[in-house]
Symmetry: C2
Subunit: 203 residues, 2 copies
């Protein structure tokens, strides 16, 4: 057990050191040697835990996605009506903004490598599919309980995930371009009520 | 006049050659020499028209945005009610998907350089702001004519642009992950009607 704990601790130290290096030096300019030096581990220990710098980045990325999925999970188990769950999930956009603002260059450097390797790319797009599935299930429940209109759950999930992705992307690209804090919450409110006039418009 | 025409023609030939080179070789691996060779122009002629490879990419990017803005402009001048204009503008997402699918590696390579140069970055984020302004004006008109509910136009514009950006980004990242064709149109329909049940839900 002690050895397992030590192994986990080493892994965590490598991840934290890599995150620091990526933030300060960028993804491209960071080498495995720098990560090892900052973590205080040997290259042997590094390669025991991770196949490459890319594998470390993916582990950090997956940990970040897992945090978002934990939020989703905790909201989904509340038994609140679907509209309230959707409003609670708006906080995920803020969570992405808080974590990713200023980190865009690192993601872009990583993506540049990922676009050349289909396996790695696959891992980076998988979360979108999982979030669409999770939102479709939430919308289905809402339709079944009568808190949402009888919409197509897959379409609604597309709209919800696209809205979140679009808000987060613009917020990260252009933090000063608009008031992003609270935007997701208001956007969900607007989506629930709808944009169209209640009566058909007669020009 | 003839000389001006010849100059415009050279510029167009450089842009077309650069687009070909970027698509076939990637942004990073393309040099000004390759662009000149493919365009059949001298380096002198190239630098007469463009300061750098980056300037050529930005010119291509701006031409692409101008195409989208032309669609916006032509829809905005139809005098149709706002909901119909919004549905007509859903086609812009498909236009982005058609143009950008398969080109992602080039954009990512370019962005990697752009994140290091604030001036260039500014040019690449400016269109988001312009589209938000244009959509806010469309929503204002819709509210004034009574075809849209009295929503906050800036918020609605946020939602509309985010929806479009999110759909386009997911569609480009993951073309086979879902049925993207027609998704924007259906998304606008859903946004007009709203997701929430008409009567308040009583658990």
């Amino acid at each position: 057990l002690t050895q397992q704990l030590r192994s986990l601790e080493t892994q965590a130290r490598i991840l934290a050191a890599a995150a620091d290096c990526f933030t300060h030096t960028g993804y491209d300019a960071t080498g495995v040697a720098e990560i090892c030096a900052r973590a205080g581990v040997s290259k042997g220990a590094f390669y025991h835990h991770f196949a490459s710098k890319q594998a470390v980045f993916l582990a950090l990325f997956n940990a970040w996605i897992a945090d978002l999925e934990a939020v989703m999970q905790s909201v989904r188990t509340t038994d609140k009506p679907a509209p309230e769950q959707l409003l609670a999930l708006a906080g995920m956009v803020q969570q992405v903004l808080d974590a990713a603002t200023g980190q865009l260059p690192i993601f872009v450097e990583f993506w540049r490598q990922a676009t050349k390797e289909p396996d790695v790319w696959q891992v980076t797009i998988e979360p979108y599919r999982r979030f669409r599935t999770a939102f479709a299930s939430l919308v289905s429940e809402g339709v079944a309980e009568g808190s949402l209109r009888p919409v197509n759950p897959e379409l609604a999930a597309h709209v919800l995930v696209s809205l979140g992705v679009g808000l987060a992307l613009q917020g990260v690209l252009d933090p000063d371009g608009a008031e992003w804090r609270g935007a997701a919450d208001q956007a969900i409110q607007l989506l629930l009520t709808g944009l169209g006039a209640e009566k058909a418009y007669e020009p």
